[in-house]
């Protein structure tokens, strides 16, 4: 009896996998090439990167971190943020949901080539880590006055 139940369960899972594969084939990946360091969607923590002529802003959405445990480093135009999120587990409680990320993480972001690794600032507020990297003076657009 359990034998039959098991096979049908696996069959259903296979069916889902097949559907997923077909959907991927149908929709295809994005038409543009991914960055070689790109991670799958859903990687913790989520990141947004914005750019202005003066600076590049990187936002990491990582709630409940101790900023002192964060390790932020920059090498040329590679920004690495590593940290550890330890969630307190309530002893003797029954858990219904455990969706929040628990553990260590590391994310590497490729920044535009003209960032200045000597001018980096980082601030942690309301669970968002905001790293600002200035662009090099020489590459910024300049207004040229006609005499």
């Amino acid at each position: 009896m359990f034998g039959t139940l098991n096979t049908s369960g696996a069959g259903l899972l296979d069916e889902f996998r097949r559907m997923e594969r077909e959907m991927n084939q149908l929709l295809g990946g994005p038409p543009w090439p991914n960055s070689i360091r790109a991670m799958a969607r859903g990687t913790y923590p989520p990141i947004n990167v914005g750019s202005t002529p003066e600076q590049v802003d990187v936002y990491l959405f990582a709630a409940g971190l101790n900023p002192e445990t964060l390790d932020i480093s920059i090498q040329q135009n590679l920004l690495t943020v590593a940290g550890d999120r330890k969630l307190q587990v309530e002893e003797g409680a029954d858990y219904y949901r455990k969706e929040r990320y628990d553990g260590g993480f590391r994310r590497v972001v490729t920044l535009p080539e003209d960032v200045d690794p000597d001018q980096v600032e980082a601030a942690y507020r309301d669970g968002v880590l905001h790293v600002t990297i200035k662009r090099r003076e020489s590459t910024r657009p300049r207004q040229i006055t006609v005499k």
Partner: protein
């Protein structure tokens, strides 16, 4: 002068409409129960205390928040995992929970809600009589 003000007001209203259409993020939650009640913890990075709204409508608990992220003017997005600034999630509560005495705390973007059980619903140990 008055006209300018009206136009900007319309713009603000239009922006508000767009924001309301924006799809909300489902915040990740941990939920656990012990003898005294249920605790809900939700990750809502970017949400400050004044942009958080927790409310109870009959037996539905709703959590809503808006993330405010400091952005320089004229910023172009190079990459975005997060495409919305609105968080929303709701749960239905059962009757033994005391909605009058919910405690809420927000720290570093983590919302913690303590929902106590009504006194009469707390588990009691039943002694087994032998004899």
């Amino acid at each position: 002068m008055t006209e300018t003000r009206d136009v900007s007001k319309q713009d603000a209203e239009a922006a508000q409409d767009i924001k309301q259409q924006e799809q909300a993020i489902l915040p990740a939650v941990d939920i656990f129960e012990n003898e005294s009640g249920i605790t809900v913890q939700a990750d809502m990075p970017g949400v400050s205390r004044d942009r958080l709204d927790v409310h109870i409508d009959s037996d539905t608990l709703s959590i809503e928040g808006r993330a405010v992220i400091p952005m320089p003017g004229g910023m172009d997005a190079l990459y975005a995992d997060i495409r919305s600034t609105r968080y929303q999630r709701s749960f239905s509560l059962s009757r033994e929970l005391d909605t009058e005495r919910i405690e809420a705390g927000l720290k570093d973007g983590v919302l913690t809600l303590r929902i106590p059980k009504r006194e009469e619903h707390r588990p009691r140990r039943i002694e087994v009589q032998t004899g």
